[in-house]
């Protein structure tokens, strides 16, 4: 059984990721848009730590599967999870967990490594599903390198920016004090 503050924190971060899905920049020639979701995943990992961050992302994905318009650009339904962008969504959960475990306050290098690993997990999950879908259902015969150009390369600049934004945000004084407050709760 979760404690009350764990439940409410997980759901507020699920809602934040949902909000991030509305900040949406479509890119030409790839079905995957750039969104602010990953920024909130990084922050959930930095503020909540691995377990709760993963929980919040799981809640987010579940929310979308139940039909609420919380996926990128207001999409909804369990169909999205099996669509071209579904792999990215599913990878949010392990990515948040790993980032939360690796990142540590006051250890900038370790924190940046954790966030980068999370991004790589999201890329891997997303591109894998995109590649499999393109080759089976769409029958396009997409090579793996082509899948990388569709599913990874266009997003590297945006994600680098978001990692730095999240890193800077986590070092701001107000968020630092939140983290202290939360660690007091846990202790």
């Amino acid at each position: 059984m979760l404690k009350a503050y764990e439940t409410s924190l997980a759901s507020v971060f699920a809602a934040l990721t949902a909000l991030g899905a509305y900040v949406y920049i479509p890119l030409p020639l790839t079905p995957i848009p750039v969104t602010l979701q990953t920024f909130f995943i990084y922050l959930s990992a930095l503020i909540l730590g691995g377990r709760l961050a993963a929980l919040s992302q799981a809640l987010y994905v579940l929310l979308g599967c139940l039909g609420l318009p919380v996926f990128a650009g207001g999409k909804a339904g369990i169909g999205v999870l099996f669509g071209p962008t579904g792999g990215y969504l599913a990878a949010f959960i392990p990515a948040a967990y790993v980032a939360g475990r690796v990142c540590k306050a006051g250890r900038p290098l370790r924190t940046l490594t954790g966030l980068t690993t999370a991004t790589i997990i999201i890329y891997a999950g997303g591109t894998l599903q995109l590649w499999i879908l393109m080759n089976t259902i769409y029958g396009e015969g997409l090579g793996f390198m082509e899948a990388l150009t569709l599913g990874v390369l266009p997003f590297i600049p945006g994600d680098t920016l978001k990692i730095f934004l999240a890193f800077l945000a986590s070092k701001s004084r107000s968020i630092e004090s939140l983290r202290v407050r939360l660690s007091n709760l846990q202790g």
Partner: protein, 254 residues
């Protein structure tokens, strides 16, 4: 955030409101399944039009339309992307972009209709009685209610920062990104604080006391619910069968 309005429950006493939430979900889901099975413009148009009498019946037509308006930009985007794909030689027929935009509208507006006539409490009750653990149900309904609240929060933070002289709408792309930071940090801080306050309220009401929870209301499946369920299932089976036995292009669900 226009689309958000089309997902917030509107109180009413219509026959649609009185249906069991599980039945309503089945209806919305059937719309989604049907729209994913077909990529013909005609079928998708029929599906979209079939929702109009339902929205009228539930007395939520205006709200439903506002959801559609909020979605129109994204629908146009989907249309444009598919049109571009045709130019790059995807070999699709010319009505395909319209059909895809329409499919998007059918999927999202079907869910919008469901949430317009189902109160969050009913929704939670339906989840709970489908044997999903209470923790999960509670967290889900809470997250669901947080989304519009936080959306409003962003607006007021933006207004507050503007009044302090933050220029949000000028400068080049990187400048604009940089100027969004003063929106994000207060948003995160205020939402974490809010959630801690909620946690205190939850504890004050005995959350996590460990004893099994009872609920005041029970959903009961009435005869009307059964009739509507059977009707929906019949229609759904018919559409699926039609799809299987009519000669149409290769199956592509997405």
């Amino acid at each position: 955030m226009m689309a958000c309005k089309g997902f917030i429950f509107k109180k009413g006493e219509t026959s649609l409101h009185r249906l069991d939430p599980r039945v309503k979900f089945l209806i919305s889901l059937s719309f989604v399944v049907c729209s994913l099975l077909y990529e013909e413009l005609l079928v998708l148009a029929i599906l979209a039009l079939a929702m109009v009498p339902l929205a009228l019946k539930g007395g939520v037509f205006r709200e439903w339309l506002s959801a559609l308006k909020g979605l129109s930009f994204l629908a146009l985007l989907i249309f444009a992307i598919n049109l571009a794909f045709i130019f790059f030689g995807s070999g699709k027929p010319w009505d395909f972009p319209v059909a895809m935009a329409l499919r998007f509208i059918v999927v999202v507006s079907a869910f919008s209709l469901f949430f317009l006539v189902t109160s969050p409490d009913e929704f939670g009750l339906a989840l709970q009685q489908s044997r999903i653990p209470f923790d999960v149900v509670f967290a889900l309904t809470m997250a669901f209610r947080f989304v519009p609240v936080l959306a409003l929060e962003v607006q007021s933070i933006a207004d507050a920062q503007r009044s302090k002289g933050l220029e949000l709408d000028s400068g080049n792309f990187l400048m604009r990104v940089k100027r969004r930071i003063p929106l994000l940090i207060p948003l995160i801080v205020s939402s974490v604080k809010r959630s801690l306050e909620i946690a205190e309220a939850m504890e004050a009401r005995g959350y996590g006391s460990g004893r099994p929870r009872t609920s005041m209301y029970k959903l009961n499946f009435k005869r009307v619910d059964l009739a509507v369920t059977l009707l929906t299932l019949t229609l759904l089976t018919l559409t699926v069968l039609l799809r299987l036995y009519l000669p149409t292009p290769a199956f592509k669900p997405f």
